[in-house]
């Protein structure tokens, strides 16, 4: 029983990392931009948030947890959004190929994370010595009282605040996309930018904003990993392939934020399943780690069978938009 509870807890923690990335990517893709730079952007968000908190605590004899949290959140979101801005300038204004730009950004972002991770490790006195104790503890603080309820408390209330924030963001994003005028405009741009343009919508502005905000959101996933999952330290390439899982989750969730919530928990569970199955050899472990991708491929196969228009990616995904080429 207790193993099961731990498994579910860990699955949710893994899932939240991925969910932030997926929400950011959904926001971006709804505008017709396929940002494959999300994995790199998540690295950028993670290291920037960590650096913010690190310098704050380093220069401050009596750091305040709330200030540390706000600084790290702001740093993570801003730098990740800047990553999105690089992507936007290249693909929207300069109309560079989206796939190439995204992949380049992923390589850049990973390097960015490892470079600065190494730098602050050195400042802190060695690998694994980075300490953001006060801020880190605020991230990992559980809900007092509620988390003490047996079983239920462990399952539902034993996470840091970013977990709940993520669920709220998912719900808000869903409301935004499907219940507001701006969401309708954004979806129209992703489907058919020419039509949206003719309807008087500022396509460029929407694309820039959704790509940058989406990247910022994804950056929070990186921060979550660094602060809550790793407890406030940096390991080179520690984030692994979770960024790609986030991109896969977007497809799995059929571009719907609410689907992404349970999809993320499923992906999280599949991602760590190998640790909980006794007697797996090295090679079998790798096979198990690939499960989320296998599931995504199966979903792709099924959605292509059904051919339902609502389940397809935004029709304008990956295509640059030229007004003159109408």
């Amino acid at each position: 029983m207790s193993v099961l509870i731990i498994f579910i807890q860990k699955a949710i923690v893994q899932g939240i990392c991925i969910l932030y990335g997926a929400l950011g990517e959904i926001m971006t893709e709804k505008s017709g931009n396929l940002n494959l730079g999300i994995p790199g952007i998540m690295y950028m968000g993670g290291i920037s948030g960590l650096m913010g908190a690190f310098f704050y605590e380093k220069d401050n004899p009596n750091p305040n947890a709330l200030v540390g949290v706000l600084i790290s959140l702001l740093c993570a979101f801003t730098v990740a959004a800047l990553g999105g801005l690089i992507y936007s300038v290249l693909t929207i204004t300069l109309r560079v190929n989206q796939n190439v730009t995204g992949l380049a950004l992923t390589i850049f972002g990973t390097g960015f994370g490892n470079f600065f991770g190494g730098s602050i490790s050195k400042l802190a006195g060695g690998v694994g010595q980075i300490s953001v104790k006060v801020t880190g503890s605020a991230y990992t603080a559980k809900i007092p009282g509620l988390s003490k309820i047996p079983v239920l408390g462990d399952l539902l209330f034993s996470y840091g605040f970013m977990t709940y924030l993520c669920i709220i963001v998912a719900v808000l994003l869903s409301v935004f996309l499907f219940k507001t005028r701006y969401g309708l405009n954004l979806r129209a741009i992703g489907e058919n930018p020419g039509t949206a343009d003719a309807a008087g919508i500022n396509v460029t502005k929407y694309k820039y904003l959704s790509t940058c905000i989406g990247a910022g959101l994804a950056g929070l996933g990186g921060l979550y990993f660094v602060m809550e999952y790793s407890g406030g330290t940096w390991t080179d390439n520690g984030f692994g392939d979770r960024g790609w899982l986030a991109v896969a989750l977007v497809i799995f969730a059929l571009w719907k934020p609410l689907n992404a919530i349970w999809g993320a928990f499923l992906f999280g569970a599949l991602y760590i399943l190998y640790l909980y199955i006794p007697g797996l050899g090295r090679s079998m472990q790798e096979v198990f780690k690939a499960l989320p991708y296998v599931v995504t491929i199966i979903v792709l196969v099924f959605t292509s069978f059904r051919k339902k228009k609502e389940h397809q990616p935004p029709a304008g995904l990956g295509l640059p938009y030229f007004r003159e080429e109408r």
């Binding site: 005028r181 701006y182 309708l184 489907e191 039509t195 949206a196 003719a198």
Partner: protein, 510 residues
Amino acid sequence: MGENYALELKQITKRFGSVLANDHVDLTLKKSEILAILGENGSGKTTLMNMIYGIYYPDEGHILVDGKEVSIRSPKDSHHLGIGMVHQHFKLVDVLTAAENIILGLPGKTMLNMKKVTAEIQALVNKYGFDIDLSQKIYEMSVSQKQTVEIVKMLYRGARILILDEPTAVLTPQEADRLFDILRNMRDDGCSIIIITHKLQEVLALSDRVAILRKGRYIDTVETAKANVQSLSEMMVGAKVDLDIDRPEPVSPQKRLEIKGLTCRDKEGIKTLDDVDLVVNSGEILGIAGISGSGQKELLEAVAGLQAAESGTILFTDADGNQKDLAKMDSVEIQELGVSLAFVPEDRIGMGLVGDMDMTDNMMLRSYHNGKGGLLDRRGPRQLATTIKDQLEIMTPSISSPVRQMSGGNVQKVLVGREIAQNPKILMVAYPTRGIDINSSHTIYKLLNEQKKHGVAVICVIEDLDVLLALCDRIAVLCGGKISGVVNGRSATKEGIGLLMTKHEKGGEQ
């Protein structure tokens, strides 16, 4: 004087590089009137309208709305001035509902109350007698329903001046009549409507006045009541034109093709052709009529061997009486028998021609496999390209410039010319005159008639029923993949064919 006009254009000029698209055009649109703008392709109709709608900005001249001078820099500006445009290619988002498309991009409360919005639009729909379901998704709609959504969209945005670019190109005659009724309703309600078209019959039936453009220049505006087909077309072309399409009697027709029980399915398993029986004779032109997507393309492709038949036979009889079943042969073998297909798809280039290649290379697409050895023989195709260019008066800088850069009419001439040069026994053309002007169209009709005189069996799919009725010896009407009737081109009426186009069982005279 000025306040009577909803819209005035004064001395509008627009250049694209060295090309003069509009040369000092004057135009007036009265309140509560339907103005038709008539002109051949490339006469500058669409450019002019795009300037009113804010897609282009005029180089010279003034635009006045309700007597006041305005500057229209984007579609948004034109919305504010109450100008709406329904484009030839609809600007709708497929996965959204009609109501969502209508309110797209409009300012308003952040949270959407679809119920309230839908009720507002519904009131408008009822007022003018439109027939649409606002909660239906666009991709589930027919072309005429989509067009209705576009018109409602413009009205909901407060358009008092509505521009329609070739609105009837995609409609059946009945649907077009219904559209005209609605447009008249709107006019009587105080809207001003501009309709761009090159179908003279429609101009005469619908409009109050007609403005004629020729080669970017404004020719004249005349009262429709005082005009007729002949006078309008002369103003449009600038010279006396022979509008009659020649229809020689078929010379000793023989059965060339006999289709029996032909059934085809598409990838989703839906029947695109359903038990089609059809006879095609040599020396005659057989027209195929039908709403677009009724199986015209599939029928031609099945004969050409590009589409696998699920069941049925396509018996080909050559001049000596030998018979072969085309349904069992592949496309290359069929080509060798002399079955030629010139298919002009909606985007013109795509099937048949390669846009980035020049005329010579496009000629070679047909003949490259005849060469000896591994190297290509370019000389023959080059000669052919030159001949076609001269004979069909194709306007292109040279035979080595990419086909993509030619105008639509010229591309079609290249395609039809190439197919005719194969000396076919059966010539199939689809939409050979789609979107091209009267002069070029008549050149192509003449080409088809020449082939007919040479004893070729010609099958043509043409959308314009007036042309079909003037050109064809017999007309087969397709409806939902079935032949709903085969009528005599000399005695059939437009209304009769229109009925068959929407009728789902067999009928009509053989």
